[in-house]
């Protein structure tokens, strides 16, 4: 009954919203903006367009375009040094989850002398960050509305920073930036967003009526549009719905927690560099199947949103239909679905399983039912 809900104070959604960047940063009182992105965003021309819009509004702009997937602490530190040298008074994150996560930390470090490693954990950040605007170019992570950043430390370990300061001042959704996403990225990030909505709704720890409302609305948008954007990546209304659904799923999960799907996906990303969305897609269907008995009622409730207008004889058949619908979405996603196809070696399965139940306990605690090491390993084996 008691809970807290945090969100971004301002969200702008519009095809062509990139053009608003100048007005937005001026409104935040920023005149020297560091744009944080990856080389792909530069070659697509998005970074150049953002820079031009900001400069036209009278802002000076510097670009840090070296963000890598699963960004390292070194990358974040390098960007923060550039921000300080440039005397940035605003940060724009433009790109996928990695760029947004990096931009959030850069906005914190620009105004602070705290070493990055002192921020690892919950609420360690001191001082006040510079104005921060986040613009996602994938419909997946929801990073634009979450207060967590995940980076990789020099020991190749994932480190998470949790701080309300990581929520941006403004999240801007411009679906035009997502029209060119390749089908595999569209599929992986879209399924990732669906996982956020589902795991938020079934969370055993911090599920609440606000996250529930956002999760169900997100799931209906994502469920009814994923196949459309996979069939035609230029379908603007469907791309818009995916971006909106991803944002709402982000608002839901950051306030409710994710669970076992994420727990099982993390080692696949850390050890085998499988992109986060793809890793989630791999384990999604088997984990839902594993949870089915414990989560029957909630999956039945979600069936009404994923399969609107369908009638079910009882709760069990609604829940079964929900899991089947997800299984078929995953099967049709065009992603490789076998670990062996993705260079995962068999001996690693047991190692990853023990990592999940020990190292990522926190997420298993939010799963509708518990999972032991043997059960995790069996799930990995099932998709090997």
């Amino acid at each position: 009954m008691n809970y807290e809900f945090r969100s971004v104070p301002r969200i702008i959604c519009e095809a062509g919203a990139l053009q608003e960047l100048g007005t937005v940063f001026r409104g935040l009182g920023a005149q020297r903006v560091l744009l944080v992105c990856d080389p792909g965003i530069v070659s697509l021309g998005f970074a150049g367009r953002a820079q031009a819009v900001l400069e036209a509004a009278g802002c000076a702009v510097a670009v840090f375009d070296q963000v890598t997937p699963d960004p390292s602490s070194a990358v974040v530190e390098q960007a923060a040094r550039q921000a300080k040298a440039f005397q940035a008074d605003g940060v724009l994150g433009l790109g996928g989850g990695s760029s947004l996560d990096a931009a959030k930390l850069v906005a914190l470090l620009t105004n602070s002398d705290q070493p990055l490693e002192n921020l690892y954990g919950t609420d360690k950040a001191r001082g006040k960050r510079v104005p921060l605007v986040l613009m996602p170019t994938t419909s997946g992570t929801g990073s634009e509305v979450t207060w967590v950043s995940v980076i990789t430390d020099p020991q190749n370990k994932k480190q998470a920073v949790y701080s309300p300061q990581l929520l941006p001042d403004v999240a801007i959704l411009d679906p035009l930036l997502t029209l060119g996403l390749p089908p595999k990225v569209t599929a992986a990030t879209g399924l990732d967003a669906m996982v956020h909505a589902i795991e938020a709704y079934t969370s055993r720890t911090r599920k609440n009526p606000i996250s529930d409302g956002l999760a169900t609305a997100a799931l209906s948008l994502l469920g009814s549009n994923l196949r459309k954007v996979l069939a035609d990546g230029t379908d603007l209304p469907a791309r818009t719905a995916m971006l909106q659904g991803s944002l709402m799923a982000g608002m839901a999960f950051v306030n409710a927690s994710v669970a076992a799907i994420h727990a099982l996906a993390y080692p696949l990303g850390a050890r085998f560099h499988i992109p986060h969305g793809h890793a989630n897609a791999l384990v999604m269907a088997p984990v839902l199947r594993f949870n089915l008995a414990a989560a029957q009622r909630q999956y039945a409730e979600l069936a009404a949103h994923l399969l609107p207008g369908e009638h079910f004889a009882d709760e069990a058949s609604a829940a079964e239909a929900f899991v089947r619908a997800i299984e078929s979405l995953v099967e049709d996603s065009g992603l490789e679905l076998r670990l062996s196809e993705l260079k995962v070696d068999e001996p690693s399965l047991a190692v990853m399983a023990s990592e999940v139940v020990v190292g990522i306990r926190r997420l298993i605690d939010s799963n509708p039912c518990d999972m032991n090491e043997q059960e995790v390993e069996a799930i990995y084996r099932g998709i090997f």
């Binding site: 807290e4 945090r6 104070p9 969200i11 959604c13 519009e14 169900t216 719905a241």
Partner: protein, 384 residues
């Protein structure tokens, strides 16, 4: 199509007895000296004692301004600002109904940045920064804790509004314990008011968007399921908590997708006959729903699943009927006046009421079905 801006309060805390934690929350906002804005009724009821004592025990200097009246006059803002300056308040807490929260917003604004109230009536004219602001509603109705508007009455008896994103508080704190003593009639009126917010936001002809829709549906679900329970069991904390939450979610929705004809027809009733805002809304709700049916059938049909979860309808038309029927029955069993003649309105007043309602064009344009003078006249007459 899908172009929108969504703004809201960045942090919501739902917690039974959360008001006893206000001291810690003020500290998080770096405030040691605090102005608490409330009304004489709450003071007399003793509702302010526990929160004030808890704050003082935590070492905070608390000054109380408890003279807020219903439909607060400008003088009330001026008095409260003088008290805030006198005690050098570093933060403002609004604790009460919509009027107290509105005054708290303006005090935080005027003490944070030197400006004259009469210069900032209208949209976006206020200048920041404002003082840190925490809003604690004690009725489940207005949603003022998550809206960007504050209304005052000028010496010439005009209602003037300040609209600015600066008026969103830092924290909205929902403490159901504060609402258990609400009289049945107040619970009913404010509860129906909150339902009207959700309904009008969902069917708004302007600015309706996926986020406001998701929040409105969740709001209406909570409100419909708990309205009768709080009347039957006023001390039911879970039901009270759900009503507060529903009211807040409806506030988040209508702050972004504005209300329409129910409110436009309600305001003149409040102005001329000094009816509580919730009662004015409740009196005209059902006639307006029936009037809107031809234009809003599909939308009302969608809301049927929120108020009648699990019920199946053969067609959108039947679902729409089901929704209107549900609202009609709900209003009819509420413990307050059902007809205008019961609250002193006579046939001779209808012309004036109609003229006044017609002037509220900013709300009428949001109605799903356009209304002319005859329509409005007919609607008032039908509930005389």
């Amino acid at each position: 199509m899908s172009k929108f801006t969504f703004e809201t309060t960045p942090r919501v805390i739902c917690e039974i007895d959360g008001a006893l934690r206000l001291g810690a929350l003020c500290r998080e906002l770096n405030a040691e000296r605090v102005l608490l804005v409330s009304d004489p009724g709450l003071l007399r009821a003793g509702l302010l004692d526990a929160p004030i004592n808890a704050m003082r025990d935590s070492g905070l200097q608390v000054t109380l301004y408890s003279d807020v009246q219903a439909d607060p006059p400008v003088a009330c803002v001026e008095d409260a600002v003088a008290v805030a300056r006198e005690c050098r308040a570093q933060a403002v807490i609004g604790l009460g109904g919509g009027s107290s929260l509105d005054i708290a917003k303006l005090v935080a604004l005027l003490c944070g940045h030197e400006q004259r109230l009469e210069d900032i009536y209208g949209i976006g004219l206020a200048k920041g920064p404002r003082l840190p602001l925490i809003q604690v509603p004690t009725t489940a109705g207005t949603g003022s804790e998550v809206t960007a508007v504050a209304i005052v009455t000028t010496p010439s008896h005009e209602k003037k509004g300040v609209v600015s994103p600066l008026l969103y508080p830092d924290i909205a704190l929902l403490d159901a314990r504060l609402t258990v003593g609400l009289p049945a009639a107040v619970s009913a009126m404010t509860g129906v008011d909150a339902m009207v917010h959700a309904i009008e936001s969902y069917s708004s002809a302007h600015k309706k968007n996926v986020l406001s829709d998701g929040l409105a549906v969740q709001a209406l679900t909570l409100l419909a399921a708990n309205m009768d329970r709080v009347l039957a069991e006023p001390g039911d904390l879970q039901a009270r908590s759900n009503m507060l939450l529903g009211s807040m979610l409806a506030g988040m929705a209508f702050a972004n997708a504005p209300v329409a004809a129910v409110h436009a027809l309600a305001y003149p009733l409040g102005g001329h006959f000094h009816l509580p805002h919730g009662l004015s809304n409740a009196l005209v709700l059902v006639p307006v729903l029936n009037f809107n049916r031809p234009a809003a059938e599909a939308l009302y049909a969608q809301l049927a699943s929120a108020v009648l979860p699990g019920q199946r309808f053969a067609s959108p038309r039947e679902a729409c009927d089901g929704f209107i029927d549900f609202m009609t029955r709900l209003v009819a069993r509420m413990p307050f006046a059902q007809r205008l003649s019961e609250v002193g309105v006579t046939d001779a007043d209808i012309d004036q009421l109609t003229d006044d309602a017609l002037k509220i064009e900013r709300l009428l344009i949001n109605n799903p079905r356009p209304l002319d003078r005859d329509d409005i006249h007919g609607l008032y007459t039908s509930v005389l």
